[in-house]
Symmetry: C2
Subunit: 872 residues, 2 copies
C-alpha cells in the first residue's frame, strides 16, 4: 500500500501532484522553519483510491493524528484541554465547487467547556463551537447555509457580532443543532473522530460535485487527479484583541508596486474576513497593534518571496501575540503587475530574463493594449456587470438592432443595450461599438458572439432594467433614454453614464514607436526585447492594405502572412467585379479582368513597398462570387414587388445561378480559379508585374482551398508560365484549410513551396460547423455543458484540428524538407495557439497587426520555456 498520509515535515512544494497546492506549500513553509501549525496531508492518491472503493486510510490517519496530539500535548475531544483541527481541501489546481474548509473539529458539548477553561474565554469557546456546527452542517451535511445565517441574524437582531456574549452563542449552538436535526433527521455527531472522518470523506466526495466536474471539463483538467485533504491543528485569531487574522501580498498585485499589501482583522477567524462582517484595516497598521508580529511577518514575507522567487500571497493568524502562517502560494496579479514584478525580480537578482518572459503572458500583454477609460473621470457608475469581452466603448444607447444599424450608417457611435441578444441582433452587434445586456453570463449569446467579433461587451448587468419598447433602461434611480451616451468597460464590467474619456494604451503607443513612458512600458520593452531574441517562430501579419502593412511592420511583423485579395475587389471596384460575373462572352469576361489587373497591380506595389525586403504572401481570390452581388432575398423581394430595375432582373438571374445551399462548401478558392478562365491568371500577372516594379519585393503566391494536389498542380503550371513571362521569381504555395489537404499533405507538398494553415476554415470543416451560424445558435450552450472550455475559434483545438496540423507538418516536411510552414488563421494571434505552433515546428505565425506583439511574446515564451515550467 502506498503512503497515503504525509506529515508537513515530510513534504515539499514540488509534491503538488500528491499533496495538492495547499499541502505542498504548508510542508515547504514547515521545512523553512516558519511558524506553521503542525498537521498532515492525506494525499490525492488516497482520494483516488477512496473514490474507487469508498475506503479511507483510517489507520494511517489515526497514527498521524496521534503524532499530532503528542506534538501539541492535547487530545482531540479531550474535555479538559481539547485539540482542535481544521480539515481543508487542496487539489493541484484550485477548483470552484469543491468543499473547502471545516474549522474547529474536535468540539462537542464536553470539550467546549475544556476549551473555555483553557482559553479563559467562554464566549470564544461557544462561538467556535457554533462555527463548527455551521460549517460542518453546510459543507459536510449539505444543509442550506441560509438556515444558519438566518438564525444568526435573528439572534444578533441588528447588533454587531462583538456585542454577542457567551450565552448568545450557547443558545445559537442549540438552534444550530436543531437545524441539523430537522434538515437531516440526525444528530450533529459529537464524536470528534467521526467529525473528522466525515469531513475527510466530504472533501473527497466533493471532487465529483457537479460544479467541480463542469469546471474541470471546461478547463480541461483531468478528471482523475483527485484532491488532497489537510488536517491542521487549530490556532485562533478570535481569542481577543491581541489576536487576529489577515491576508497579504508581498507586492501590490494590482499595480505591481514594491512593498507589502494586505488586510488585517482583529479578533476574528479567516472566514470573517471573507464574509466582511467588519471592516479590515490595512496591514501596515498591524505595526501599531503588535510590532513584534508585524516585523516577524515582514521577515517571513521577504523570505518567502526570496524562496519562491515570485510574488507571494499568504494567510496568517495571530493568536495572543503569536504569529502563525496558514497558507502561502504564488499570488495572482493584474497584467500590469505581471510585467512590472517580473522585471523587478530580474533587477533584484531573483530570476533571469528568460524566466521573466515566461511569467508574462500574451493575454496579459493584450489586456495592456486595449484602450481604457481615463483615471479620475467622475462619471456616474451606473452598474457593474460581467466583463464579457474587453475594451472601452462609448456611444448612444440604442435598444434595437435596426436602430443600431440605422444610426451607425449615419456615423453615430452606439451601444446596443438589450435584455439579452439573439441571432437577430447580429447586424446590430456588428454596427455597435459595444454591447450591454442585463441577462446572461459569460456563455450567453451576447458574450460569445461579442468575443468572437472582438467587440467590447458587458453582460448580465442584473441591476439594470431594460425596457426596449419604451426605449430606455433604468439603473437604480437613473433612467437612460435612447440617444443618451453611456460608456462600458468590457475589461472591468463597469457601466458609466456619459462619455468617459478613453485613453490610448501607452503600451500601444510604445509599439507605434514612442519611447517607453513609465516603469510599466519599460518593463514591457525589456520583456519584448528578450522574447524577440529568444523566439524561433517568426511573426507576420495579416494585412490587405499598405497602411495595415506599415502598421504591422511598426508592431514588429516580419512580413505579411496573408493578404486577402478579394478585399481589393470591394468599394468602387465592385462594378468591375459585377461586370466580370455578368459577362456573357469570354471577351466580356476578359475585358472585366483587364480592367481589374492594373488596380490589383497598384495594390500589390503598395504592399511590397511597405514590406520591402520582407516576404508578402498573397492569397488568390477565395470567396464565392455571389458575395459580390446583392442578397438573394432582398433582390427577390425588390423584383417581386416591382421596385427593381432592368439591371436588377439581370442581377437576380445571376444571383440565382450562383446561389448555393452552403456557400462555404461551394464554388470558391482554387475551384473558382479552375472554373473561371483567366481569373487567377489576371491576379498572378498583377502580382508578377508589381514584383518586377518593386525592387525588394518577396512575393509568395498562395492558392486557397486546395484539397487535392491535382488542383494545385493545375494552377501552379499556369502561374509558373506567367512568372516566367514576366521574368520574376515568386514562391508558390497553398493554404491548408480543408481536412483533406492535411490528410494528403505529403502529396500536396510535392507541388507547394509553402503551407499556410488556414485554421478558421480548417476548424469549421474539421468540426463541421460554420462559425457564422453556430456561435449564435449553440456555442453558449456548448460552453455551459463543458463540451468545450473555450471556443475552438478562439484557441486551437489540439485534438482535432491540431492533429491534422501535425500530420500535415510531418508529412509535408518528409516530402519536401525545405517546405515553409506558417499559420494565417486568427489563431495565429492567440497565445495558447502560438505555443502549439511552436511545438509542432511551424516557421511562422501570422495574425492581425494588433496581435503581432502578443504573438511575438508568446513565441518567445514558448521558445524559452524549459520542460516542466508551467507557463499557462
Amino acid at each position: 500500500m502506498p503512503k497515503y498520509v504525509f506529515d508537513f515535515t515530510e513534504g515539499n512544494k514540488d509534491l503538488r501532484d500528491l499533496l495538492g497546492g495547499k499541502g505542498a506549500n504548508l510542508a515547504e513553509m514547515t521545512n523553512l522553519g516558519l511558524p506553521v501549525p503542525p498537521g498532515f496531508t492525506i494525499t490525492t492518491e488516497a482520494c483516488r483510491s477512496y473514490l474507487a472503493d469508498g475506503v479511507i486510510p483510517a489507520e494511517e490517519i489515526a497514527t498521524h493524528l496521534a503524532k499530532l496530539e503528542a506534538a501539541m500535548g492535547k487530545r482531540l475531544g479531550d474535555p479538559e484541554d481539547p485539540l482542535l483541527v481544521s480539515v481543508r481541501s487542496g487539489a493541484k489546481f484550485s477548483m470552484p465547487g469543491m468543499m473547502e474548509t471545516v474549522l474547529n473539529i474536535g468540539l462537542n458539548d464536553a470539550s467546549v467547556r475544556g476549551l473555555a477553561g483553557q482559553s479563559g474565554n467562554e464566549r470564544f469557546a461557544w462561538d467556535s463551537y457554533r462555527r463548527l456546527i455551521q460549517m460542518f452542517g453546510k459543507t459536510v451535511l449539505d444543509i442550506d447555509g441560509e438556515k444558519f445565517d438566518e438564525a444568526l441574524e435573528e439572534l444578533k437582531a441588528g447588533r454587531e457580532d462583538l456585542a454577542l456574549d457567551a450565552a448568545d452563542f450557547r443558545r445559537l449552538v442549540g438552534t444550530y443543532k436543531e437545524i441539523v436535526r430537522t434538515e437531516k433527521g440526525r444528530e450533529f455527531p459529537d464524536d470528534p473522530r467521526e467529525q473528522m472522518e466525515l469531513a475527510v470523506r466530504a472533501v473527497f466526495d466533493s471532487w465529483n460535485a457537479p460544479r467541480a466536474v463542469l469546471y474541470r471539463r471546461q478547463e480541461r483538467i483531468p478528471a482523475d487527479l483527485g484532491t488532497a485533504v489537510n488536517v491542521v491543528a487549530m490556532v485562533f485569531g478570535n481569542l481577543g484583541m491581541d489576536s487576529g487574522t489577515g491576508v497579504a501580498f508581498t507586492r501590490d498585485p494590482a499595480s505591481g508596486q514594491r512593498g507589502i499589501y494586505g488586510d488585517y482583522l482583529q479578533n476574528a477567524q479567516g472566514e470573517d474576513v471573507v464574509a466582511g462582517i467588519r471592516n479590515t484595516i490595512p496591514l501596515q497598521r498591524l505595526e501599531e497593534i503588535d510590532a513584534t508580529s508585524y516585523r516577524q511577518l515582514l521577515d517571513i514575507m521577504a523570505r518567502l518571496e526570496g524562496h519562491y522567487r515570485d510574488l507571494c500571497d499568504i494567510e496568517f493568524t495571530i493568536e495572543r501575540g503569536k504569529l502563525w502562517m496558514l497558507q502561502t502560494r504564488v499570488g495572482k496579479r493584474t497584467a500590469a503587475a505581471a510585467f512590472r514584478i517580473a522585471v523587478q525580480l530580474v533587477d533584484e537578482g531573483l530570476i533571469d530574463l528568460d524566466e521573466a518572459v515566461i511569467r508574462c503572458t500574451g493575454d496579459q500583454l493584450a489586456q495592456l493594449m486595449f484602450p481604457r477609460f481615463a483615471d479620475g473621470a467622475d462619471n456616474t457608475l451606473l452598474t457593474k456587470g460581467m466583463n464579457a469581452s474587453p475594451g472601452a466603448a462609448v456611444g448612444q444607447a440604442v435598444f434595437s438592432s435596426a436602430r443600431a444599424v440605422e444610426l451607425a450608417a449615419q456615423g453615430v457611435e452606439v451601444i446596443l443595450v438589450r435584455r439579452e441578444t439573439n441571432p437577430d441582433d447580429l447586424s446590430g452587434m456588428i454596427a455597435a461599438k459595444g454591447v450591454l445586456t442585463s441577462r446572461g453570463g459569460k456563455t450567453s449569446h451576447a458574450a460569445v458572439v461579442a468575443r468572437g467579433m472582438g467587440k467590447t461587451c458587458v453582460c448580465g448587468a442584473e441591476d439594470i432594467v431594460v425596457d426596449a419598447k419604451a426605449l430606455r433602461f433604468t439603473a437604480g434611480d437613473t433612467v437612460v433614454e435612447e440617444g443618451e451616451v453611456i460608456s462600458i468597460d468590457g475589461t472591468s464590467g463597469a457601466v458609466y453614464l456619459g462619455a468617459v474619456p478613453v485613453v490610448a494604451s501607452p503600451v500601444v503607443e510604445y509599439f507605434e514607436g514612442a519611447p517607453p513612458a513609465d516603469e510599466l512600458v519599460s518593463a514591457v520593452h525589456r520583456i519584448m526585447t528578450h522574447a524577440d531574441g529568444g523566439r524561433r517562430l517568426a511573426v507576420r501579419a495579416n494585412a490587405d492594405t499598405a497602411e495595415d502593412a506599415a502598421r504591422a511592420r511598426r508592431f514588429g511583423a516580419q512580413g505579411i502572412g496573408l493578404c486577402r485579395t478579394e478585399h481589393m475587389f470591394l468599394g468602387d471596384r465592385r462594378q468591375l467585379v459585377e461586370d466580370l460575373i455578368l459577362a456573357e462572352t469570354p471577351a466580356e469576361r476578359q475585358s472585366a479582368l483587364d480592367a481589374l489587373e492594373p488596380l490589383q497591380k497598384a495594390d500589390f506595389i503598395g504592399l511590397f513597398e511597405a514590406m520591402s525586403g520582407l516576404p508578402v504572401t498573397i492569397r488568390l481570390i477565395d470567396p464565392p462570387l455571389h458575395e459580390f452581388l446583392p442578397d438573394l432575398v432582398d433582390l427577390s423581394v425588390k423584383v417581386a414587388t416591382g421596385a427593381g430595375t432592368d439591371k436588377d432582373d439581370r442581377l437576380l438571374t445571376a444571383v440565382k445561378r450562383l446561389h448555393e445551399q452552403n456557400p462555404m462548401l461551394g464554388l470558391r478558392g482554387v475551384r473558382l480559379g479552375l472554373v473561371i478562365p483567366g481569373l487567377f491568371a489576371m491576379q498572378v500577372r498583377a502580382i508578377a508585374q508589381a514584383a518586377r516594379q518593386s525592387v525588394k519585393a518577396r512575393a509568395e503566391i498562395m492558392i486557397p482551398l486546395v484539397g487535392a494536389v491535382q488542383e494545385l498542380e493545375s494552377v501552379r503550371e499556369e502561374a509558373l508560365k506567367i512568372l516566367a513571362e514576366v521574368g520574376v521569381h515568386a514562391l508558390i504555395g497553398t493554404m491548408i484549410e480543408v481536412p483533406r489537404a492535411a490528410l494528403t499533405a505529403g502529396q500536396i507538398a510535392e507541388a507547394a513551396q509553402f503551407f499556410s494553415f488556414g485554421t478558421n476554415d480548417l476548424t469549421q470543416m474539421t468540426w463541421g460547423f460554420s462559425r457564422d451560424d453556430v456561435e449564435a445558435s449553440f456555442f453558449g450552450k456548448y460552453l455551459d455543458l463543458g463540451i468545450f472550455g473555450v471556443s475552438p475559434f478562439e484557441s486551437l483545438d489540439r485534438d482535432g484540428v491540431g492533429r491534422l496540423m501535425r500530420i500535415a507538418v510531418e508529412e509535408g516536411r518528409a516530402a519536401r524538407p525545405d517546405l515553409k510552414l506558417g499559420i494565417c488563421g486568427e489563431h495565429g494571434g492567440d497565445p495558447e495557439s502560438v505555443r502549439f505552433c511552436h511545438e509542432i515546428g511551424l516557421d511562422y505565425v501570422s495574425c492581425s497587426p494588433f496581435r503581432v506583439p502578443v504573438a511575438r511574446l508568446e513565441a518567445g515564451r514558448a521558445a524559452l520555456s524549459r520542460a516542466g515550467s508551467d507557463t499557462r
Copy 2:
C-alpha cells in the same frame, strides 16, 4: 545495366509489369509453341530510363534485331528480300491516347521492289509501303491523319480498295511523301533502322501524351509505369485471297454463350478490320475458305482458354494459308456473359467457385438489375448518344425544367430534353424519369448530376437538334414535339420514339423470391450463394419504412444500418413539426413532442417487426429544423407582395430566426438534440417503447454529427436513463461523419458501442464541398481535368476520407475492442468502397435495399480474393 530487351522466348505472361500486357502474352504464346511471328520486347524499364535521359538501349536492340534477322533469314531494308517489322506499344494497362502501332517498318524505295519480287505481288508491296508512310506519318511524325485519308479517297474516286492496282499505290506513295515534306519540312526517312528507332522513341514519348496523362490521372494509374515496345516480324494478311486477318473470342462476349465468336476479312491487314473498309465475315465461314487453318485456330483457341482459364480474345493473320497468332488477352465481356462464363468454367473444371465469384463484379451485377427495354420492340431508333447513367426511362418529351416539374406534379412521366443542362435544371431533373441532352460528354453537368441522382441519362446525342423555344427536337427527319413519348436507354445510349415496353430484370425477380428462370439467373444464384458463404462483412440496408425494410430483407439484408427518423416527420406530420418549431413556451413544445411520440413509436414497431431478430439502427433526427419550414425566398416574396396570411408572417419570423448561412454546418444532429430540450428524449422513448412491444427487436440508437465525446456523453446519459425507465436494452453509438469524430475516435469510443461511418457528410467535410452545390458547379470540370477519376461521392476517396476511416477504426477498436463498426453512407453500396470497408476491417456495410445484392457480392469477392488477384 538491367536487361532492357527480351526475346519472346524469354518472357511469360506473369511479366506484365516489365513487358506490358501484349509483350507478356506474345511471350506466353511463343512458349506454348503457338505460331507467333518472332520478335522481341523493349521493356517498360527501358521506357522509364528513356524518359529520364532520352537514351534508348540501341545496342541491345541491335543485338536482338540481328537475332531476329537470323531467325527469319532476312535483313531489314534488304533490297532483295527485306525483313519487315511492326512496332507496337504495350503498357501494363491499355491506355487511350498512346501511340499504338506502326506496321511494315523496313520499306523504302529499294526494298519495296525486293518485297514485290519475293511476294510476286507488286500491288501488295506498294500498298504495304504506302501503309507504312501513312501510319508513320500519323503516329510518329504527328501529321494530321486526314491528309493521308483524303489523298487515298481522291485516288479511289469512289472505287473499292481492291480495285486499286500497283501503279495507283505507287502514285499514292509519292503523294504521301509529299505530304510528309510539306507538313514536316523533312523527308520520310528511308533508312529502316532510323524508321525503327524513331518509332520506338515515339511509342515511349506517347506515354506522356496529354490524353494518356489525363487518362492515367482519371484512372489513378501510376504515372511512372512506362510502356513496353514490341518489335515483331511482319506477316501479311493482304497477300491475296488465301490470306486474311481476323479477331475472335473463345466464347460469345456479349451473351456468354459457349462456342467461338469472331470476324474474318480476306486479303487484308489488321487495321482494315477496324477501319471497316469491307464487311467482315463470321469466323465460322473460314472453315469453307481454309479448313486447315480454321481447325488449327480452333485448337489454339481451346488451348488458350484452357491455359488462361478464361475467355480469350485473339488477333490472328493467315499468310498464304499459314496461321499466325498476333495477340491474345483475357477478353472483355458484358455483365451477363461474365456470370455465365464464370459458372461455365467452374462446370468445366477450369476454375473453382472462389475464382468465379472474384470474376463477377458488383458493377456487373448492378447492370443486370436495371430494368431494360424489351427485346423485339420495333420502335424507331431516333439516335444514339452517350450512355451517361444507366436504366430505361419512358416519358413525354419536355423542354424546360418548369414544365417537367409542372407535369410531374400532375403524375405525368416526362423525359427532360435539353441541349445541355445547368444548375437551374436541377428541379426538372429531379422531376423527370430521365434526361436527354444533345451536348456534352460523360462529365457534363447532366451526366454528373444524373449519375449522382441515379437517374437514367443519355447525353451528347449530337444528331438531334433541340429547339427549346419551339418545344421540339428533331432527329434526322423525325420531329418530336413536346408531349410525344420517347424512350431512352441509359445503359446503351439509344433513344427511341414512342414507349418501348420495359421489362423488369429477371435477376431482380430472383432476388425478390422467384426461382432462377434461366442460365443467367442460375449463374447469378450460384455466384451469390458462394459469395454469401465466403464473406466476412455483413450487409445491412438503409430503410426508413417497414416496406423498405421487408424488401431489403428479401434482398438479403441482415438488418437496418440506417433509419432516418426525420423522414417520419414529413407528410401529414409536418404540422406537428411546425408546431414544435413555432412553440413559444416549454409547454407548447412539449405538447408537440407528445403528439409526435406515438407516431414515431408506431413507425419503429413496423421496422422492428419487419427486421425481427435482426439489428435495427435508428438515427435520431439530423437535419436542421428549417428544412421542415417553407423556403425563405419564397416566403419573403409572398409576404412582401401581400400574398401572405397571418400565419405566413409568423412562419417568416421563424424561418428568419432559423436561417443559416451554411445549414449543413449549422444547428443539426446532436447539436439540435442538446439545444432543444425533450427532442431526443421523445425519440429515445418512442424507440424504447416500440422495442418493448416487439419481442425480437434489436434496437441500436445512433447519434448523428458527433464531433466530440462530450456531446455523445451528454446525450447518452439521458438516453440510458430513459431506457432504464422503460426497461429495455439498446446499443448506443454514433455516426462518424465529422472529420473531428474520426480524429478523436479513441475518445469517442469510450462512450459509443458502435460507430457507423456517414461517408456522405464525411466526404463533404473532408473535401470541404457540399454535394448539392458542387456536382452542378464544378464536378464536370474536375473530372475533365483529372482532379479525380470518379466523383468521391460515388466511390470512397481512400487517401482523404479513407484515411480518416482507418484512423477511426484503429483508434476506436484500441479504446473498445468490441466496438461494432459499419458504414451507412451511399458508399456502402459501391463495389470499390465495399472492398475498402472489408480491407479496413468494418463489421458491416449498409446501403439502399436495391444495392444490397451488389454489396453482398463485393463483400464476398473481397473476402475470397487472394493476394495478387486482380479483381478490379
